[in-house]
C-alpha cells in the first residue's frame, strides 16, 4: 500500500513539476507547482513525519496563492490572461533540469545507505524539535516572536494610509 502510494505521489510530483514548464497560463502554472509541492508534502507524511508534511502543505498553499497574486500583478500583460511561458532558454533549462534529476536520482541509487539502528521515536515531531533546538528552545522561541514583531511593526510603519491617500 505504502509502496503504491509512494510511486503515485512521486509520479504526481514529477508530472505537475513538468506541467509548470508546459502550461501557458501564469495561474495554472502556479497551481501546478502547488500540486507538485503538495505531492511532496504527502511523501513526507508517508515517511512518518506528520508535522513536517502537514506544515509543508500549509505553508505551500499560502505561499503559492500569494505568489500567484504578485506574479500576475507584476506581469507585462494585464492579469496574465495572455498565453505565456515560464521558460526562456528552453533547451538549456531542460538540460539543467534533467541533468539535476539524473544526478540526484543516481545519488539515491548509488549511495551506500546505512541500515536503521533502533526504533523511530514515539513522537517524531518532538524529537525533531529537540534535535534542531535542544537547550536553545526558549532562545529560539523568543527570537522567533521578536523577529515576527519586527515584521509586523515594519509593515505597520511603512504602509501609507488607504487607497485614497491620507483619509484619516
Amino acid at each position: 500500500m505504502d509502496v503504491v502510494l509512494f510511486w503515485v505521489l512521486a509520479a504526481a510530483a514529477l508530472v505537475f513539476g513538468y506541467l509548470v514548464f508546459r502550461l501557458d497560463s501564469m495561474a495554472q502554472v502556479t497551481f501546478a507547482l502547488l500540486a507538485s509541492f503538495l505531492a511532496v508534502a504527502a511523501l513526507v507524511l508517508l515517511l512518518g513525519l506528520g508535522y513536517l508534511g502537514v506544515v509543508t502543505a500549509l505553508m505551500m498553499v499560502i505561499e503559492m496563492v500569494i505568489m500567484a497574486v504578485f506574479m500576475i500583478m507584476f506581469m507585462m500583460n494585464p492579469a496574465g490572461l495572455m498565453p505565456m511561458t515560464m521558460v526562456h532558454n528552453k533547451v538549456g533549462s531542460a538540460a539543467i533540469a534533467i541533468g539535476t534529476f539524473v544526478v540526484l536520482a543516481a545519488g539515491i541509487l548509488l549511495v551506500d545507505w546505512p541500515t536503521r539502528e533502533g526504533e523511530p521515536p514515539p513522537d517524531p515531531t518532538f524529537a525533531l524539535g529537540e534535535a534542531l533546538m535542544g537547550g536553545q528552545m526558549l532562545t529560539m522561541m523568543t527570537l522567533g516572536v521578536g523577529l515576527f514583531a519586527t515584521i509586523v511593526a515594519t509593515v505597520v510603519l511603512s504602509t501609507d494610509r488607504g487607497r485614497y491617500g491620507d483619509e484619516r
Binding site: A27, F31, Y51, L58, V61, V65, L81
Partner: protein, 311 residues
C-alpha cells in the same frame, strides 16, 4: 527538557465513520441553513435550503468567454473537500475520525485550501468582478490567518499538545475559553472570515455583484456555496474541542454536548452576520495587524506563563 512525551494510543473512530462524516456534516449544514433562512424572515424556512439546492441542480451552468474552466472547477470542488478533510480531526463526541498527533496543524492546513479555492474560482470565470472577489479573499486571508494561527496555537499550548483529543482532555477542570478569552473571540472572528461569512463577506459582496461567485450558476454555484457553508460549520464545530471543553457536560452523552455547543457557536455566528455590516478589507487588515496580532501574542504569553507555572 529532553524526556519524550508519552504518546497516547490513537483513539480514532472505526474506518466507516469516514463515510458517515459527510452525512453528519451535511445534516448540520442543512440545519444551519434552515436557521439562517428563519433569521432572514422566510416563512418556509424548513424547505428553503432544499428548494434552493434543487433550483441550482437543474440550473444551467454559465460559460464565460475565455474563462479558465480547469482552475474554476477545481477551485469550486476544493471548498467542500477541504472542509470535509478538516473535519476528520474533529472529535464527534469523544473520538474523531482520524486522531492525528498534529490535528491542529492538519485543520489549519486544510482550511487554508480555501485561499487557493476562492481565488481560483474568482480567476476562473475571466470576469473583473469575480477576480476582485478572489483578490479580496486573499487580502482577507492575510488579515485573519495570522491571528487565527496564534489563537489555535494558544489552545494547543494550553494542552501542550497538537492532538485534539488531548486538548479536550486538558479542559476537564476548566474550559479554555475561561483562561484564553481573547483567543476564543479571535477564533470566532476568523471562523467567520475563513468561510467569508458576514461581516467578512466582502469577497462575495453585493457591491461587486457577488464577487468570486459572480459568474457561478447551476451546479457550480451549488458546490461553491455548499462548500462555503460546510467550512463555516466545520470551523464553528472546531471551536468546541479547542475552547469549549469538547463533549464535556452533565446528563447528556458527549456527542450530544458537541452538537449542542456547535449549534450555540453557529447561532452566535448567524446572529453576528445579521447584526453587523460588511467590513471593508483594508480596514480589517489594519485592525488585524495592529490590534489582533499583538493581542493574540499577549494571550499566548499569558497562557504560556500559566502552563509554565503549573508544571
Amino acid at each position: 527538557m529532553g524526556e519524550m512525551p508519552v504518546v497516547p494510543d490513537p483513539v480514532a473512530l472505526p474506518w466507516w465513520s469516514a463515510l458517515l462524516l459527510p452525512v453528519l456534516l451535511g445534516l448540520a449544514t442543512w440545519a444551519t441553513l434552515v436557521g439562517d433562512a428563519a433569521l432572514a424572515g422566510g416563512r418556509a424556512a424548513l424547505a428553503a435550503p432544499g428548494r434552493e439546492a434543487a433550483r441550482l441542480l437543474v440550473g444551467q451552468r454559465r460559460r464565460t468567454v475565455a474563462g479558465d474552466g480547469v482552475l474554476g472547477r477545481i477551485g469550486g470542488a476544493v471548498l467542500p473537500i477541504a472542509a470535509l478533510l478538516a473535519a476528520a480531526v474533529l472529535p464527534l463526541g469523544e473520538r474523531p475520525v482520524a486522531d492525528l498527533s498534529v490535528g491542529v496543524v492538519w485543520f489549519n492546513a486544510m482550511e487554508v485550501m480555501a485561499w487557493a479555492a476562492v481565488w481560483m474560482v474568482g480567476w476562473g470565470s475571466n470576469s473583473a468582478l469575480g477576480l476582485v472577489g478572489g483578490y479580496r479573499f486573499v487580502a482577507q486571508g492575510l488579515a485573519y490567518e495570522l491571528p487565527h494561527m496564534f489563537a489555535i496555537i494558544t489552545a494547543a499550548l494550553g494542552a501542550e499538545s497538537l492532538r485534539l483529543t488531548t486538548i479536550v482532555e486538558a479542559q476537564q477542570d476548566m474550559w479554555f475559553v475561561v483562561i484564553m478569552p481573547v483567543a476564543f473571540v479571535v477564533y470566532l472572528m476568523s471562523a467567520a472570515a475563513m468561510a467569508f461569512w458576514g461581516p467578512f463577506d466582502a469577497p462575495v459582496g453585493p457591491d461587486v455583484a457577488g464577487g468570486a461567485a459572480a459568474e457561478l450558476s447551476g451546479v457550480d454555484r451549488l458546490v461553491f456555496t455548499g462548500g462555503r457553508w460546510l467550512l463555516l460549520v466545520v470551523a464553528a464545530a472546531m471551536a468546541v474541542p479547542l475552547f469549549l471543553g469538547g463533549g464535556a457536560g452533565p446528563f447528556l452523552p458527549a456527542w450530544a454536548w458537541v452538537a449542542v455547543k456547535t449549534a450555540a457557536v453557529l447561532a452566535l455566528l448567524l446572529w453576528l452576520r445579521h447584526r453587523f455590516p460588511t467590513v471593508r478589507m483594508d480596514r480589517y487588515v489594519e485592525f488585524a495587524w495592529v490590534v489582533l496580532i499583538p493581542l493574540t501574542i499577549a494571550q499566548a504569553l499569558a497562557v504560556a506563563l500559566v502552563v509554565l507555572g503549573g508544571a
